[in-house]
Amino acid sequence: MARYIIKRILQALPLLIVISLICFMLIQLAPFDVIDTIAKPDMAPEVKEALKAKYGLDQPAYIQYIRWLRQMVSGNLGYSIVTHQSVAFDLAARIPNTILLILPSYLLALAISIVLGLAAGSKRGGRADKIIDTLCSIGMATPTFWIAMMLVYVFGYKFGIFPILGMHTLGQDNSLPDLLMHLILPTVVLTIGDLPGTVRFVRSSTISQYTEDYVMVQKAFGAGRAEILFRHVVKNVLLPVITLVGMSLPRLITGAFITESIFSWPGVGTYFITAIRSFDYPVIMSVMFFSSVMVILGNLLADICYCLVDPRIQAMR
């Protein structure tokens, strides 16, 4: 297993370089750069040129890329060209906030989805299935920002139960109750946003398992509905969910832009989008790099989990 993991990690390295190269090229292809974002209309062309020279943007693209790569390898993520702030400092401050928001909401959505998906899939066409399926359709058709705005308006403004902005009330940075109060509305929004897709995934996976021969065999042996579902079907249904979880890992880095924006949550999502808008390439490249690492890591972890959970796969290898 250790050899397999090392092999996979080594395979991932060239992939990371290719991804970073593509990102860099896409940034270079744009007809303007970050200096256009920070330049003012009354700024003389010489000053703009001086700024370009200062940030190395006057150099050919490949030199800029090599310089960035060398910096990355030495563990230096560089500085934002717009705010002059260290990217490592900014990410270190924001990634925990994003994880704090994304992880509980995702786990909550996953837990609820498994229950609802199994309930719906195990009795296909039943009343529960119809209700759950309809709710999922409504959920999928409802934009997250609308749900967020409704919750903010009703529970934040009208009833004043929850705070609207940020992560802490000022002066209460170490208060856990205060943090939880700030966390509730965005978590609910993200959970609602994640639910429909995951419920449908679990539901269809459950339905397909019920068509398998082993279910028929169990039925023939006289196994009860609960026994079939919990002893046999669940295991097989949860297997593909591992892939789903693995694929969601990059979100811990890239955040949830819309929800973070509405609640002014200080996560990576808003930081990343602001950087993209202003072509702040040191920030874009760093976030892209880490999210690529998470994609590769997510897939790797999913594969390892598959091996551990399903002995057939290990046997095949």
Partner: protein, 513 residues
């Protein structure tokens, strides 16, 4: 199960009570919601951007604030004398001022700051201090006197030297190679009304009143710049009292606010919004076509359609904002007249081309203006094709001579001296996006910048405004007002003085009722 339910309800209730009690700021904390995170690397040389500059003004002080020849607020300077030839400005500094770390402020700090600006080619305002190969000379006379000597006469010397240059401490930065990305910027030492207490990335910048502030300790103990990323939820937070002040992006929102909770202050940012022709396009060379377009536009309809209420804008007819001391209304204002438009259109040689109007995508104001312009010109028989573009890509296009667009919508905030507008309109101007080349206009800007007699200067710039209007390349639409909503428990907004970019001229004057 019941116990579990009861326990969770009690927990929820106690959380709500605890957080609810803390949701509103107390009367010693002013929270200003701003639309971005300036980062914690404020230095007075290269900091740019609205929010960074706002933080800079809270932390540091300039020599003086220049709002016009008769409207100067002295800060670190107590007074100044201008030599008869207008070449030397002697600034007398305020004595007894100390930096927030207790060190005395002296002429050395002023010379150090201006030397950095003059010798750092990417510094803010650097180009105002360089005249070809020669530079402005800054010299210390004694501990509290500094002279600035310009190689050639510049009518805007006061604005160029005083405006937007904040003095930094020599004893902190002396010998440092770089001023941006400098770790010392994270613990700024300034002479501004507040000192930085805490920066939370992506969340807020917290300042506490500077005990040593030379104009007296600010009325409010804690000032917070809270970063808000969504205007709609921020407006709700404002009305609820989670924040005390917020700039409103869309005039429609200002109308819906709860007046029992907040008051909207509309103030000029000296921004002129305009429609302009791209003269490098092959379709815009005919002045008759340009005049036909301008006469077909209804300024009132455009502005009411965009800014909702007359309280939120002032019609613009000149390239200068209405609040500028040099502005004149005695220009061709192209008042809406369809007959005149038809007259000029008839004179257009050949077929009237379809005009391409480029504007910034996802900018509600420009989208509204573009749609109204398209409709109005259609009535006059001129077809317009709309082309929404990314803001940065559009600005990049403005710099190039091209055939891609004929008309575009823009806006600028320039200095107070009309000479600062020269770069927009003179033939070799760095921001001459019109690609305009007119000797007469160039002449006005050239003579205006060196004229010493104030009345003659006014006449020169009046002629410049008239000439630009006659050329029919820029159709000034509006000087829109910036809308700042403030909770009703806050006072002192007039004393704090609302100004372009920074919002408040004097943050120390804001108080609670």
């Amino acid at each position: 199960m019941k116990r579990l339910l009861t326990a969770s309800m009690i927990l929820g209730l106690s959380l709500a009570l605890q957080a609810g009690a803390a949701a509103s700021p107390d009367n010693d904390t002013f929270i200003y919601g701003i639309g971005g995170d300036p980062g914690n690397d404020i230095n007075t040389i290269s900091t740019s951007g609205r929010y960074d500059l706002t933080a800079e003004r809270i932390l540091y002080s300039p020599l003086f604030n220049y709002y016009g020849p008769d409207d100067i607020e002295y800060r670190l300077a107590e007074s100044f004398d201008l030599s008869e030839d207008g070449l030397t400005l002697t600034v007398h500094l305020r004595e007894g001022v100390v930096w927030s770390d207790g060190e005395p402020f002296t002429a050395d700090d002023v010379v150090f700051t201006y030397d950095k600006i003059i010798n750092t080619d990417y510094a803010n305002g650097h180009d105002s201090f360089v005249f070809g190969d020669e530079k402005v000379a800054v010299e210390k006379v004694d501990d509290y006197t500094v002279t600035f000597t310009t190689p050639i006469y510049s009518a805007s010397i006061l604005e160029n030297i005083g405006a937007e240059h904040y003095i930094m401490p020599k004893h902190i930065y002396e010998g440092d190679e770089t001023l941006d990305n400098n770790p010392k910027n994270q613990t700024p030492v300034g002479t501004g009304p507040y000192v930085l207490e805490e920066y939370a990335a992506g969340q807020y910048m917290k300042f506490k009143a500077n005990e040593n502030y030379f104009l007296g300790k600010p009325a409010i103990g804690t000032l917070i710049l809270q970063f808000v990323t969504d205007q709609t939820s921020a407006l709700l937070a404002l009305q609820k009292g989670e924040i005390n002040a917020l700039v409103i992006d869309n005039a429609l929102d200002a109308q819906d606010l709860d007046t029992n909770a907040v008051t909207v202050h509309a103030y000029p940012e000296d921004r002129v919004g305009y429609l302009m022709f791209n003269l490098s396009s092959s379709r815009t060379g005919d002045i008759n076509l340009r005049k036909a377009v301008f006469y077909a536009l209804n300024r009132t309809e455009l502005n009411i359609g965009t800014y909702v209420s007359e309280d939120y804008y002032v019609d613009a007819v000149s390239f200068l904002p209405y609040s500028n001391p040099y502005v004149t209304n005695e220009v061709e204002d192209y008042a809406f007249d369809l007959d005149k438009s038809a007259e000029y259109l008839a004179k257009v040689e050949g077929e009237v081309p379809t005009l391409r109007l480029a504007y910034t995508a996802n900018n509600l104001t420009q989208e509204t203006q573009a749609l109204i312009i398209q409709q109005e010109l259609k009535t006059a028989g001129i077809n317009v094709e709309l082309n929404a573009m990314d803001g940065n890509a559009l600005v990049d296009l403005w710099y190039e001579e091209n055939d891609d667009y004929d008309l575009t919508i823009g806006g600028y905030i320039m200095g107070i001296d009309p000479g600062s507008y020269a770069s927009l309109f003179v033939s070799d101007g760095s921001s001459n996006f019109y690609h305009l080349s007119d000797e007469e206009l160039d002449g006005y800007f050239a003579s205006g910048s060196v004229e010493t007699d104030e009345e003659t200067r006014k006449d020169i710039y009046k002629s410049a405004q008239q000439r630009l209007a006659d050329l029919a390349v820029q159709y000034p639409i509006v000087t829109n007002l910036r809308l700042l909503a403030v909770t009703n428990d806050v006072s002192g907004i007039d004393e704090a003085r609302l100004i372009p970019i920074y919002t408040f001229s004097n943050f120390d004057k804001i108080s609670f009722e």
